[in-house]
């Protein structure tokens, strides 16, 4: 058996895995909104911060 079959098979499998991931992501609607996720990504840090502070929320009540 030639090594080229193995290599081809591996490259094909990798390609098909990516292709399948693409199909799944389209089906889940990840391509429907191409803008918001790019903004949302920048919020991620701030989203966590207030959660940590919930222990002493009373201070902001003033």
């Amino acid at each position: 058996m030639s090594v080229i079959y193995v290599l081809l098979a591996i490259s094909l499998v990798v390609a098909i895995i990516f292709f399948a991931a693409f199909i799944i992501s389209v089906r889940q609607g990840q391509y429907d909104d191409a803008y918001t996720p790019s903004v949302r990504m920048l919020f991620e840090d701030e989203l966590v911060k207030p959660v940590k502070e919930t222990g002493n929320t009373v201070k902001s009540e003033e």
Partner: protein
Amino acid sequence: MTKADTCFHCGDPCERQLITFDEKSFCCAGCKTVYEIFSTNDLSLYYELQDAAGTTPKEIEGKYDFLDNEEIISKLTEFNDGNIQIINLYIPTIHCSSCIWILENLNKLNKHVTNSQVDFPKKTIRVTYKQDNFSLKNLVLLLTKIGYEPYISLEDFEGKKKVSDRSLIYKLGVAGFAFGNVMFLSFPEYFDLNSNAASGGEYWLNKYQDLFRWMMFFFALPVVFYAGWDYFVSAYKGLRAKLLNIDVPIALGILVLFLRSTFDIAFDLGSGFFDSLTGLVFFLLLGKFFQQRTYSFLSFERDYKSYFPIAITRLTTSGKEETVPVQEIEKGDRILIRNEEMIPVDGTLVYGNAQIDYSFVSGESEPVAKEIGEQVFAGGKQLNGVIEIVALKSVSQSYLTQLWGNAVFKTDKATAFQNLTDSIGKRFTIAVLSIAFISTAFWLFYDPSKAMNVFTAVLIIACPCAIALASPFTLGNMLRIFGKKKFYIKNTQTIEQLAKIDTAIFDKTGTITTTQKSTAHYEGMPLTAEEESILKNTIRASNHPLSRSLYDLLKEQNIITLDEYEEHVGKGLESSKGDINMKIGSANFVGKTMTNNLQDTSMYISSNNAYKGRYIFKNQYRDGLSTVFKNMSDSLHLAILSGDNEGEKSRLEALLPKLTPLYFNQKPEHKLEFIKSLQDQGKKVLMVGDGLNDAGALAQSNVGIAISENINVFSPACDAILDASKFQQLYSYILASKKAMRIIKMSFMLSLLYNCIGLYFAITGQLEPVIAAILMPLSSISIVIFTTIMTNLIGRKLS
């Protein structure tokens, strides 16, 4: 203006009212409340993301009571299992990243909300919430309280859930996947051009040649039979309708490429053209994808259903209120209309002070006052407290809804129009087929062994992929550029149509006049300085639209404290300072008998019960109107079609180029007929309008542009929406469309050049796969680059 006198929350100037809280200034109590909500909930990051990101919340008592109705809830929600509900709401005020952040943090404002996700391009939010002690109504009220009032209309209720069409993305994915892999598998062929097993050459490449080639074949299968299938369908449909559209030579090219390549590898004659084939389909689909850009947050197909409320409060004979879906209104029903609610059906006013804003219908912004017993029409919005009307018709028979019965709204403009690509495609197909047959005939006679080769080669190389790409990329890019300049176009065909326009018809009110500003002139006895001061200070506190515009027009006065101030809803204002008592408002209110001149909108003033005079409001024409018309009249026929009376005729004539035809008192049907008669004379008509009364004319015209002060709120069915602030640019947009069409024609020339070079190789029987592999992508890519650069140049020139 310094930062101190603009609102910290919404950025509006705090001229009329200044509230200082937390060392920050706010323009109204609403904005201050929202700030309070955000800051006490640890959400003040909202203001750090973007300055003055907020919008002023609106007062809405009782407006959403219909959301208590189970039937309505179940129709609106996406998911509802009695415990958890999911709903998708359209929120027109979403405008920046702060909005996304706050709306996705809704769970901090209310613990019942478990998840919320914003779709910014569509301006929608999808909220999941738990139902115990919480309801859809609570959610809507919560959103409204923080300035994000959702827009729920009859259209949502009818539940035409738009299934987003993702097939093009799949096809693009398939073609791109196959294209990449085929290119990869073609490398051996590219590097080892002239060798084969017989002449020696690279051993490894020759040994696995067949394997590579058959793999390419299998990759090409889904590209031809799935990704490119639309071209076969379109070509077949075209042929059946006896039309030679551009898809005929494309489909022919794809088919011949595939068959010839398969034949080549099956009989070991060569490597085939699978790389060109997959690349071609990929680029074509990319062009389609580029063209398919939509402004999904705008609706170009709106009919009256987008404006009508879902439910209405009906009063039963025993005087009880009940919420019923709007379709169930019958003649004779007594209906309660709350403040800021729309009148769903023509009726007679039986109770309350009606101040009706008909701007949805006519474009006229000044509210109209109605007395008890007078008729009110569907589409008007009540501005002044609660009124009751008795329905004269059912919803479907109203004046407003009847226009939509016209056949114009059912015809699809796109299909009736042959675009440039298709009209060229026709000649192109004939030319290509004749070249193919003639050269084949020649080779049959000269060297029959090559004849078949030449025939397929001509069809392959002449495949008009570059021509097919020029139009979608140019127009798609123009669509994007126009969108950035606040000119939103429904589809790319509209640009082609716009380039052909020779007649432009304008509606008057709301289109060439602005609804934001109006001018007023005073008529009557002069006011004393003291009275003027009281006048300005009195209307400072009023929120009535007329008071607001008059406030801006009056001379600056010092702020004084009034001794007494009272607002009589629907009538006017009363105030006193020292020994002066002033009344400002309707004629009856100030004690003046109505004159017969009802056509203008006025605010009457009396001092110590003596009538002083009135402010008469007039529409203000848009800035630069005469320049726009003057420029346009160089190349276009112009006319004004107005639903109003002739009152403004002389003013308009002074502003517009000489001999511009002006037509007054035009009903919606008249406007439609007028456009139709022009079209019958062979004119290509552009209609520019704004209200629902222009809807018929907009639909009938070749291109209908709706002018809108606020693109999110209202626009009738049209082909394009132009932001009112860009009205002066209208003509330059039309010129830009013409330039875009010129770019397409230039691209056609460029692609023709490639085709001639390719045809030389094909006819002389020398078309090697490598030449096809170089020429085909090169022509495609250079067209894409050329059109992108050229359209961006046009875009840069637009201000």
